[in-house]
Structures are given as structure tokens and as C-alpha cells.
């Protein structure tokens, strides 16, 4: 049997359709998600298959879109609500941060909020500073939310299934530049569990921890460094919250060096949490300080000439890894 290769976006749509088929309480709502299938075509064909009742076009009203999901989830449905660009999550921040994330706790554990928020992050399309951000860090900082950021077609399908099935509010972050990336994806339903990282390449000299698009760039960087005699282990976090620090530490125990990579700005980024946990929990494993490769502390620029400087790529990741390996170690 030949393995089937489909795109990241097709894998996402497959998960949505399979879960909608399996559970009649699942629906999608958001701007343009109906007839148009979403601005990134992330819901193509959903309305054609499931009708207007279960694929709902809404006004451009981010707070009310998330509020619709919160109210529907609280009363027994399993909504998928779409925010198009992750930048727009800040427009809906009250409903995400103060409502969706906290109601079940504030209600003494009696509430269930099986809500999936889908959104697209990332630079690289000259979409400028309000349509290019990677804002995962502030949402990881909020107890009660789960945050998922897949790097490949297989993971996106399995993680989306898990998000929909989860009884907590989840944020499924797609990377815009990954939508066309192809990968081998099984046809039927399957789930990739939330909170489980994946070692996507084994190595012995340095661990690189990443997620989303940069997790793929890390694989390219690892390939480059292999030719230089540096063996890189790549850990793709897949889920940021809850964080699978055990898989990261197991890798660091082997390599004794770690670099964390993401596209979001470095200062206060999610990499700081990962680096801090490696240092706190794995200090004795380390031969070098934990490094970080991330975007500089500026808004995402518009001009391609500047944007290409802004976004971390395989070459910059390779530089960061070389620097980590160059530190003198304990020779173990």
C-alpha cells in the first residue's frame, strides 16, 4: 500500500470533517468559514458537507465569536471557533483569557468547556505587524488553556482531533507558511495526544527544541550540521501547554546542550520558559547555557528585505547550534 501524502491544510480539514462526522455537537463558526471556507481555506468544503447549521458564517466580531463558543460549550456543544489571524486573538482576549480559560475553575470545577479556537500565526507573507505575529506565549501564560502548534501534516490532523475531543479550551495555532507543506497522513481518524513532544531527529551533540514552522527549519539546520560533524537531536514540542518537559530533559541528558528556537520574539517568549525549566530541572545535565534563537524585539516588518532578516531560518538556527556546541564542556 502506498502512503498518502497530503498538505498540512488538507490534514487539518480532514480532522475537522472526521470529528464533525463522529460527533453531532461539533460545529464551526467564524468569519468567512462557511461558503468561502476560511481566508486560508482551512475550512474548505466543510459547509458543503455539513450545511449552514454546522458551518456558521459570523460577523467580524472576535469577542462575540469566542463568546458564542464559550456559551455553546458551557451548555453542551463542542464548538470550533476560528479567529483567522492570531493577531485578532488580542481583540477577543477577554473572552479567551478571562472567560474561556477561567470559568471552569471559578465555577468550582462544575463547568466543562470543550472549545477549540483555531487561528493562523506566523510571518513570511509580507502581511506586516498586525497579521504576522506568533502570540503563543501570552496564551501559554494563562492557566486553563491548552496551546497547540503543530509543524507537519500528520501532527496537525492528530492534534486537531485531540483538541476537539478535549473537554478544555484549546488553541490550535496553524502556521500560515506551513499550509501547503505535504506529509504522510493516514486516511482515518487518529489522535496525537496533547502534551506529548516528539523527537523528530535523533542526535548526540546538541538538542534543539522547537515547534511550528521553526521545528521544520531545525531539521534543515540539523542536516547542514551533520555534514560538519555535529549531531543534532530535534525535539518538536507539538503542544506548548501542557509542556512535555520530560521528553526535552531526556534528550538533554543525552546531549548535555540545548537551544530553544521559535519565530516569536525572543524577549519574554515561550523559549524563556523552556530554557528556565531545562536550567532548573536539568542544571547538572548541562555543559553550556541554554541558547535561544528567535525573532528580534521588534514588530514584524512589512518589506521582504526586512522580514527575511526578522524570521529565524535554518541558517540562523545552525549558527545558534554551532555556538552551543563550541562552548567547552565537561568532556562527557
Amino acid at each position: 500500500m502506498t502512503e498518502r501524502s497530503i498538505t498540512y491544510v488538507a490534514a487539518f480539514i480532514e480532522a475537522v470533517k472526521l470529528e464533525m462526522d463522529a460527533d453531532p455537537t461539533v460545529f464551526i463558526a467564524g468569519e468567512d468559514v462557511g461558503a468561502h471556507g476560511g481566508v486560508f481555506h482551512t475550512f474548505d468544503g466543510v459547509q458543503a458537507q455539513f450545511g449552514e447549521r454546522r458551518a456558521v458564517d459570523t460577523p467580524i466580531s472576535e469577542q462575540a465569536i469566542i463568546g458564542l463558543g464559550v456559551g455553546a460549550a458551557l451548555t453542551g456543544l463542542r464548538p470550533i471557533v476560528d479567529l483567522m489571524f492570531m493577531d485578532f486573538a488580542m481583540v477577543a482576549a477577554d473572552q479567551i483569557v478571562n472567560q474561556a480559560a477561567k470559568l471552569k475553575y471559578m465555577f468550582g470545577g462544575t463547568a466543562k468547556l470543550p472549545l477549540t479556537i483555531t487561528t493562523a500565526a506566523g510571518a513570511g507573507l509580507s502581511a506586516a505587524a498586525q497579521h504576522s505575529q506568533s502570540l503563543e506565549a501570552p496564551f501559554c501564560h494563562v492557566p486553563g488553556l491548552k496551546v497547540v502548534f503543530p509543524s507537519n501534516a500528520y501532527d496537525v490532523k492528530g492534534l486537531m482531533a485531540s483538541c476537539i475531543q478535549d473537554d478544555n479550551p484549546t488553541m490550535m495555532v496553524l502556521h500560515k507558511r506551513m499550509l501547503g507543506a505535504r506529509g504522510v497522513v493516514p486516511e482515518g481518524r487518529y489522535a496525537v495526544p496533547l502534551g506529548v513532544a516528539n523527537v523528530t531527529r535523533e542526535g548526540t551533540d546538541v538538542t534543539v527544541v522547537s515547534y511550528g514552522r521553526t521545528a521544520v527549519e531545525c531539521l534543515t539546520a540539523a542536516e547542514t550540521l551533520q555534514a560538519e560533524g555535529i549531531s543534532v537531536e530535534v525535539v518538536d514540542l507539538r503542544t506548548l501547554s501542557p509542556l512535555d518537559i520530560d521528553t526535552v530533559l531526556a534528550s538533554v541528558a543525552k546531549t548535555h546542550r540545548a537551544v530553544v528556537v521559535h519565530e516569536a520574539v525572543r524577549f519574554g517568549g515561550f523559549g524563556a520558559e523552556v530554557a528556565a525549566q531545562i536550567s532548573e530541572l536539568g542544571f547538572d545535565l548541562l555543559d553550556a547555557p541554554v541558547g535561544r534563537v528567535a525573532a528580534p524585539f521588534s514588530p514584524v516588518p512589512f518589506s521582504p528585505a526586512l522580514e527575511s532578516l526578522y524570521v529565524p531560518d535554518a541558517a540562523r538556527i545552525a549558527e545558534g547550534l554551532r555556538a552551543a556546541v563550541a562552548r567547552p564542556g565537561l568532556g562527557r
Binding site: 460545529f27 463558526a29 447549521r53 456558521v56 459570523t58 460577523p59 466580531s61 472576535e62 469577542q63 462575540a64 465569536i65 469566542i66 463568546g67 458564542l68 463558543g69 464559550v70 456559551g71 455553546a72 460549550a73 458551557l74 451548555t75 453542551g76 456543544l77 464548538p79 477577554d94 473572552q95 478571562n98 472567560q99 470559568l103 471552569k104 475553575y105 471559578m106 465555577f107 468550582g108 470545577g109 462544575t110 463547568a111 466543562k112 468547556l113 492557566p143 486553563g144 491548552k146 475531543q165 478535549d166 473537554d167 478544555n168
Partner: protein, 325 residues
């Protein structure tokens, strides 16, 4: 509409339950027995009661930071509510939410809310659920006049109309947004003027008259149940106490004469006088209600005071729901 004496007495009892619960809670706060913030509903009882008496138990409501009255009117248990306000393990939220997040999902009361206007989109979500399932349940969003200046209200009202959902918007216009008179925060005098902007009907009702509120909300609820979409009911009312706490006179931001003029229209006492005048109910009927509710409140205080605080292990419980699968 002709209300039976039983219904009238039930509305009276519900208003008295709110009044005594709130005044008791206010006194307990003053003596330091109740931590946190306390936004008392006293003066506005006719709105919550007139509305909730027009609802079925399975209809949904969302509430505000001034939310105890809404929960009591929906049938909330005073002992669990009192325990919650004291932060006890036996409270409505296990001591995790307090006054501003008090709720009872058994009664489809989807919570008070500490963020002004935030309950309104959630009510629209519950309305979406009702339509999605083909149910004739409705949802009611309670909110204040000041909420209508918040983007979430506008988005939610528009969306409810655009999606034609069974939602009733009940605005409690109590003339102040915290400590600022509403006429300094908006230039329209009536919130109901805003309804036309969303394409829904709106009606103004005397929020000190429980029967009038009941009648207006019943019409809006019937309309929603018939699948004819949302409507807005604006109840003109007044909070007798300060935005927070139990002080009522001598406040800098509103004149005492105004407070006294509104207190002269007390929704409970005016209802009692009218019912006696009309020969529907007697002073004895009402006295019995006050006595019974006082006993219930005493029992609620005993329950709350004798209840334990949450165990340390409760701190992290309920941050996430464990999925059954």
C-alpha cells in the same frame, strides 16, 4: 395576563429572599466576615424576579458583577450562596469564585461575571445552542446600562440578530456606571434606542414594578421561543446601596434626595401595598414570607459559618477538566 395569587406570592418571596440575602451579606462584610468585593442588588429586585418568573427552569441566564439577585431569582440555594461569599468549600463554586462568579449550572445560571458586558456574548452562545439543537429554550442576558458602552455588548447584540437567535437582552438601567452618572457616559437617555440599530424590538419598563417587568419579559421570551429572534427589555431601576458595599446615603456622586426618592418606590413595599389595595394578598401573607425567609437566611449563615474552608488540595483542582476519553 392574569397572575395567580400563588405566582404573585412567589414573586414576592423571591424579592424578599434577594433583599434579606443582600442586606445580610452587606452586614457580614462590614464586620469582616466576608472577604472580597460585594456589589449589592438591593433596589433592583423586581428586574431579576420579574424576568426569572417569566422563564422556565431550563432557560439560561447570564449575569453581571451584581449577580446574587439573578441567581436567587433563578432559584439559587441561599446556604450555598452564603458559603460561597465566605469562601467556604461548601459554596456554590467551592470557594473558587466568590461574589463575582457565583453561579449554579444545575439551574442553567451561567454565572455572574467580573468583566462588565462579558456575560452578554456568552448568553448569545447559549442562545445559539438552543437554536442549534432545535430546542425552545431561550437565554437571557442581564446587563447594566454601562455594559451597552462596551464592545462585547454591541458585538453580541448584533450577532444574536444576524443569526436570529432566541436571546432576550434585559438591561437594568440603574442610572450609574459604578460612580459615574449614565448621562455623562452616553448621550442617549434610553438604552432601548440602541435596539433599533441591531434590528430588534425594544421596550422600556418600570424596573421597580415586578408585574410590569414580568409582563414585558414574558412577551420577549414568547417571541424568542416562537423563533422570532431577539428583543431588548430596558428596566428603569435603581440600586439603593453604593456600587460596592452597604453605604447608601452621604455619597459624593449621587444626591441623597435622589436615593430617598427611589427608595420611596421600593419594589417590594410598593408591591405589597398594591396587592393589599387590590385585595389580592394580605399583610399577614407578606409577614409570613418575611419571617420564613429570615429563618432561611439564619440557617444559611449557620451553614456557611460552620462550613470548612477549602482544603489546600483544592488550589489546583479544576484548572483543567479531566477528559473522560
Amino acid at each position: 395576563m392574569d397572575l395567580s395569587n400563588e405566582q404573585l406570592l412567589a414573586m414576592h418571596r423571591s424579592m424578599v429572599r434577594i433583599r434579606l440575602f443582600e442586606e445580610t451579606a452587606g452586614k457580614l462584610m462590614e464586620t469582616g466576615k466576608m472577604p472580597g468585593f460585594l456589589h449589592l442588588y438591593v433596589g433592583q429586585e423586581a428586574v431579576a424576579v420579574g424576568t426569572c418568573e417569566a422563564l422556565r427552569l431550563d432557560d439560561y441566564i447570564t449575569s453581571t458583577h451584581r449577580g446574587h439577585g439573578h441567581l436567587v431569582a433563578k432559584g439559587g440555594r441561599l446556604d450555598e450562596m452564603m458559603a460561597e461569599l465566605m469562601g467556604k468549600a461548601t459554596g456554590s463554586c467551592g470557594g473558587k469564585g466568590g461574589s463575582m462568579h457565583i453561579n449554579d449550572l444545575r439551574l442553567n445560571m451561567l454565572g455572574a461575571n467580573g468583566i462588565v458586558g462579558a456575560g452578554v456574548p456568552i448568553a448569545v452562545g447559549a442562545g445559539f445552542r438552543n437554536k442549534f439543537l432545535g430546542s425552545d429554550q431561550v437565554s437571557v442576558a442581564f446587563f447594566g446600562d454601562a455594559s451597552t458602552n462596551i464592545g462585547a455588548f454591541h458585538e453580541a447584540a448584533n450577532m444574536a440578530c444576524a443569526l436570529h437567535l432566541p436571546v432576550v437582552f434585559v438591561c437594568e438601567h440603574n442610572r450609574y456606571g459604578e460612580y459615574t452618572p449614565t448621562d455623562r457616559a452616553m448621550v442617549v437617555a434610553d438604552i432601548v434606542d440602541r435596539a433599533a440599530g441591531y434590528g430588534m424590538p425594544g421596550v422600556i419598563v418600570d424596573g421597580m414594578d415586578v408585574v410590569a417587568v414580568h409582563e414585558a419579559v414574558t412577551e420577549a421570551v414568547d417571541r424568542a421561543r416562537r423563533g422570532e429572534g431577539p428583543s431588548l427589555v430596558e428596566a428603569k431601576t435603581y440600586r439603593f446601596y453604593n456600587h460596592h458595599g452597604i453605604q447608601n446615603l452621604g455619597l459624593k456622586y449621587r444626591p441623597d434626595e435622589e436615593v430617598l426618592a427611589w427608595k420611596a418606590r421600593d419594589p417590594i413595599f410598593s408591591f405589597e401595598d398594591r396587592m393589599i389595595d387590590e385585595g389580592r394578598l394580605t399583610r399577614d401573607d407578606f409577614e409570613q414570607v418575611w419571617a420564613e425567609v429570615r429563618a432561611t437566611i439564619d440557617a444559611a449563615i449557620d451553614f456557611a459559618e460552620s462550613s470548612p474552608f477549602p482544603e489546600p488540595s483544592a488550589l489546583l483542582a479544576g484548572v483543567y477538566t479531566e477528559s473522560a476519553s
